[in-house]
C-alpha cells in the first residue's frame, strides 16, 4: 500500500480556470493513460498502474509503483501543454493509506462540492474502466477501485448522505411528477429568459415534455432563447420549443400546465384575479406554478385557487437546505463507513503482503517433508494404509510447528497493531531463517490479487497447506 500515490487538485484547492486546464473528457483520459504508459516504456517516468479521475470539480491521478511527484507534474504539463507553474501549487499529494481513504471519500460523495451527490460514483467507475481498458490497472489498483465502488454504493444507499434533492430544478421536477403522470401531453410555459429559466427548463425537458413556450417581452429574445435548445431535449429527443411574446399571455396561461416565472419584472406578472378568470377556460386543469423570480412573478394568492400548486424560490430552497442539513448530519456516519472499509482494505492488503511469504514457508517445509518421506518410505515395507498414516503424521507435525510463527506473523500485520516495524522484522527473520524469497507483487498471480478484498485470503489459511 505504501507504493500507492495520489496526486490531484479539486474545487477546494484550485480555481475553475486551473481545473479547466487539466480536465479531460473520457476519450482524452484514455489518450492520457496511453501517453503515460508510452512515457514509462520509454524510461522517462514511473510506470506501473494508473487511474485518471477527471470531473468538473477534480483531476486526480492514482498511481501504483515507484513514481515521483515530479514525473507526474512533468507529464501533466507536457500532455496539456501548460506550464507546470500554472497548476503545481494547487496540487495535493497523498500516500498509502491516506490515498485509499481519500479515494473512498471521493467515491462516497464526501469530498464533492455538493455533499453526497451520487454522480461521482459513476465517474469513479468510468475512470477505472477507462484505465482497465487501457491495460493500466493491476494487482494494486484493481482491488482498490473495486472496493471504492462498493464503499460509495454503501454510503449512498445505507446512510442518509445521498437522500433528497440538492438543486432547485430537481426539487421542482419532483413536485411536478407528483402532480402529473405524463409530460408528453403537457405544455411548459417559461416566463423570462434568464439563466435560472434555462436551468429549470433543462429539468423539465428531460421529462420529454410535449411543448415548451418561452415568453419574453421581445419576440427576438424569446426566439434566441428557444434556439439555444436546438429543438432537442437533453435526452436527444425532439423538443417542441417556441418563443412567444407576453402580449398573448392569457392564451398561453390557458394552454400551459407548468408555468415557470423567471422574469425581471418588479410586479407580479400573474395575479390571482387574472388566473382565476382563466380557470374555467382551462377546464380546471391542475396548474403547477414555479416562481423562481425575485421579486416574484406570481402573486402568492394564486396558490390558494383550487387546482393550483404554487412554489416559490423559498419553498424550493427550503427543501434543498433541509436535504443538505440532513446530509450534513450523516457525514460522521458516512465517514465511519469509509474508515471501516479503509481498515478492512488495509488488513486485506497487509495479509496479501505476507501471503506469498507464508505460502513459501509452507512450500519449503512441504518440500523438505516430501524429500524425507520419499527416502524413508522407500526403506520401509508398508502397505497403502500405513504410508498414508505416516504422511499424515508428517503433515500434522509441520502444521503444528508452523502454526505459532504464522500466527505471530499475521498478528504483527493486523491493522490495529501499530508496531509495523515488528511485522517487518518478523518477515525478515522468517526469510532469513528459512532462506525464503517470496514472490513480489509483480510475480504474484494476477487473478489472486484482483479478487474482492472482502474475501478471506486463502493464502494465509494454514488448513489449505495441510
Amino acid at each position: 500500500m505504501n507504493d500507492l500515490l495520489l496526486i490531484g487538485l479539486n474545487h477546494t484547492t484550485a480555481p475553475l480556470d486551473v481545473r479547466e486546464r487539466l480536465a479531460l473528457a473520457p476519450q482524452r483520459a484514455f489518450d492520457a493513460i496511453t501517453a503515460w504508459q508510452q512515457r514509462s516504456a520509454g524510461g522517462n517516468a514511473g510506470g506501473g498502474e494508473v487511474v485518471l479521475l477527471s470531473t468538473c470539480n477534480r483531476v486526480e491521478i492514482y498511481l501504483a509503483g515507484p513514481v515521483e511527484r515530479g514525473a507526474v507534474v512533468d507529464f501533466l504539463a507536457d500532455f496539456h501543454a501548460t506550464p507546470a507553474a500554472k497548476f503545481e501549487t494547487h496540487l495535493y499529494e497523498r500516500h498509502g493509506r491516506a490515498a485509499v481513504e481519500h479515494l473512498f471519500a471521493v467515491a462516497s460523495g464526501l469530498d464533492s462540492m455538493v455533499l453526497g451527490e451520487s454522480q461521482i460514483l459513476g465517474q469513479v467507475r468510468t475512470a477505472y474502466e477507462t484505465s482497465r481498458s487501457a491495460g493500466a490497472t493491476g494487482p494494486v489498483l484493481n482491488p482498490l477501485f473495486q472496493r471504492a465502488a462498493t464503499v460509495g454504493k454503501e454510503v449512498l444507499t445505507d446512510t442518509g448522505l445521498g437522500d433528497g434533492r440538492v438543486s432547485v430544478a430537481s426539487v421542482a421536477v419532483d413536485y411536478a411528477k407528483r402532480i402529473f403522470d405524463t409530460f408528453s401531453d403537457k405544455t411548459v410555459l417559461c416566463l423570462g429568459t434568464g439563466k435560472m429559466s434555462r436551468l429549470v427548463l433543462q429539468g423539465f425537458t428531460s421529462l420529454k415534455t410535449g411543448k415548451v413556450l418561452v415568453a419574453s417581452r421581445e419576440q427576438s429574445r424569446a426566439d434566441a432563447f428557444a434556439a439555444k435548445f436546438g429543438g432537442r431535449d437533453f435526452s436527444g429527443g425532439d423538443l417542441s420549443i417556441r418563443g412567444v411574446t407576453m402580449d398573448d399571455l392569457d392564451k398561453h396561461l390557458i394552454a400551459a400546465d407548468v408555468i415557470i416565472g423567471s422574469t425581471g419584472a418588479t410586479h407580479p406578472v400573474v395575479t390571482r384575479e387574472r388566473f382565476a378568470g382563466l380557470l374555467k377556460k382551462r377546464r380546471y386543469r391542475p396548474a403547477f406554478f414555479l416562481d423562481i423570480a425575485v421579486p416574484r412573478d406570481i402573486e402568492p394568492a394564486v396558490g390558494d385557487l383550487e387546482g393550483v400548486y404554487l412554489y416559490d424560490l423559498d419553498d424550493l430552497q427550503g427543501v434543498v437546505s433541509q436535504t443538505l442539513a440532513g446530509r450534513t448530519g450523516q457525514v460522521e456516519v458516512a465517514r465511519g463507513v469509509v474508515r471501516r472499509h479503509v481498515d478492512a482494505y488495509a488488513a486485506w492488503h497487509r495479509q496479501r503482503e505476507i501471503g506469498p511469504l507464508i505460502d513459501a514457508l509452507y512450500r519449503h517445509s512441504g518440500d523438505i517433508a516430501k524429500g524425507e518421506l520419499d527416502r524413508t518410505l522407500g526403506k520401509l515395507d508398508l502397505d497403502d494404509s500405513g504410508r498414508e498414516q505416516v504422511e499424515q503424521l508428517v503433515h500434522r507435525v509441520i502444521q503444528k510447528l508452523l502454526h505459532g510463527p504464522v500466527s505471530q506473523l499475521k498478528q504483527a500485520h493486523e491493522p490495529h497493531n501499530d508496531s509495523r516495524g515488528e511485522g517487518q522484522a518478523y518477515v525478515h527473520a522468517v526469510e532469513k531463517l528459512f532462506n525464503l524469497r517470496p514472490p513480489t507483487d509483480d510475480q504474484a498471480p494476477h487473478g489472486q490479487t484482483v479478487s474482492d478484498p472482502t474475501a478471506d485470503d486463502h493464502n494465509t489459511d494454514t488448513d489449505d497447506h495441510g
Binding site: 433528497g164 434533492r165 426539487v171 419532483d174 413536485y175 411528477k177 407528483r178 402532480i179 402529473f180 403522470d181 405524463t182 374555467k280 377546464r283 380546471y284 386543469r285 391542475p286 383550487e306 387546482g307 400548486y309 412554489y311 419553498d315 427550503g318 427543501v319 433541509q322 436535504t323
Partner: protein, 265 residues
C-alpha cells in the same frame, strides 16, 4: 348447518385479516417486500372460501353472506396486489388494506346467516354478480379518492418537500378513480335494472313498498353520486378534489347498502 362457517374457516379468516393488517402497517412504515403478508392472507381467505364451499357441497359463489363478503375481500385484495405489483400506486394498500380487513371481519361476524333467496336464473345471476362486483371497483375508486386528498394535502405542505413516489401522481389517481367508477357504474346499472326486474316479477323480502326501503334508496343514492363523478369531464368544476370526495361518499353509501343487506337477514 353445513352452510355456516366452521371454526377452522373462521380462524383462517381471522389469520387472513391479521396478515392484511400486518402488511398494511409495514407498508405504511415504508418497509420493502410487504406484499408477502397480504398475499399469504388472501391465500388463507381463499382456503377458507374453498373449505366453506366444500362443506356445503356447492362450488358456485355468492350463495350466502360469508361467501359473498369473502369474495369481495379477496377481489379487492387481489386488485390491490396487482396495482402494487405494477407500481401504479404502491401506497393504495393503505386504504384498500383496511377495507379488506373490514370485509373479512364482516364475513366472520355476519357470515352465520341463511343462504340468499336467489334462484338459479339468468336474471338472478346477473343481478348477483353485478351488484357484488361493482363494490370492488368502487372500493378502488374510493381508495384513489382518499389518496388523492392525502397527496393534494401533502403537496400544499410545502416545507415538507415533495411527497414520495409511492403515492403516484394526482393525475394518475384521478384517472384510476374515473376508470374504476366507470366500470363500477356500468356494473351497478346492470345490478339495479335486474334488481328492479326481480322485485317487480316476484315476491321478495322487500315487500310492496320496495322503493322506499333503505337498501334500495342507498343503492340509488350511490348510483346518483357516481353519475355525478362520471359527469366530471363535462363539468370540470367537479374534477379533482370534488371527484375524490364524491367517490368516497358514494362508497360510504354502498357500504351502508351492504350493512342494510346484512341487517335484513
Amino acid at each position: 348447518m353445513a352452510d355456516l362457517p366452521t371454526i377452522v374457516q373462521l380462524l383462517l379468516v381471522a389469520a387472513a385479516a391479521a396478515l392484511i393488517a400486518a402488511g398494511t402497517v409495514l407498508s405504511a412504515r415504508g418497509r420493502r417486500g410487504t406484499s408477502v403478508f397480504p398475499a399469504v392472507g388472501l391465500g388463507l381467505a381463499l382456503a377458507a372460501q374453498l373449505l366453506h364451499s366444500g362443506d356445503r357441497h356447492d362450488w358456485l359463489p355468492l350463495q350466502d353472506n360469508f361467501d359473498a363478503l369473502l369474495w369481495l375481500a379477496i377481489l379487492v385484495g387481489g386488485v390491490t396486489l396487482y396495482l402494487r405489483h405494477r407500481g401504479t400506486v404502491p401506497k393504495v394498500d393503505l386504504v384498500t388494506g383496511p377495507i379488506v380487513m373490514v370485509l373479512l371481519i364482516a364475513a366472520a361476524v355476519f357470515g352465520r346467516a341463511r343462504p340468499h333467496e336467489y334462484k338459479d336464473t339468468l336474471w338472478d345471476w346477473t343481478h348477483r354478480l353485478s351488484t357484488y362486483a361493482s363494490p370492488v371497483a368502487f372500493a378502488l375508486a374510493a381508495s384513489a379518492g382518499v389518496l388523492y386528498l392525502v397527496l393534494r394535502s401533502k403537496l400544499r405542505q410545502k416545507p415538507h418537500g415533495p411527497p414520495d413516489a409511492s403515492y403516484g401522481s394526482l393525475e394518475r389517481l384521478e384517472r384510476l378513480n374515473y376508470t374504476a367508477v366507470t366500470i363500477g357504474f356500468a356494473l351497478l346499472t346492470v345490478g339495479l335494472i335486474t334488481g328492479v326486474f326481480l322485485v317487480l316479477s316476484r315476491d321478495t323480502t322487500l315487500g310492496s313498498h320496495w322503493f322506499w326501503k333503505p337498501k334500495v334508496l342507498l343503492s340509488f343514492g350511490a348510483y346518483a353520486v357516481y353519475a355525478l363523478v362520471l359527469h366530471s369531464p363535462y363539468n370540470p368544476a367537479l374534477r379533482g378534489k370534488q371527484t375524490a370526495i364524491l367517490s368516497i361518499f358514494g362508497f360510504v353509501l354502498l357500504l351502508g347498502t351492504l350493512a342494510v343487506v346484512q341487517a335484513m337477514r
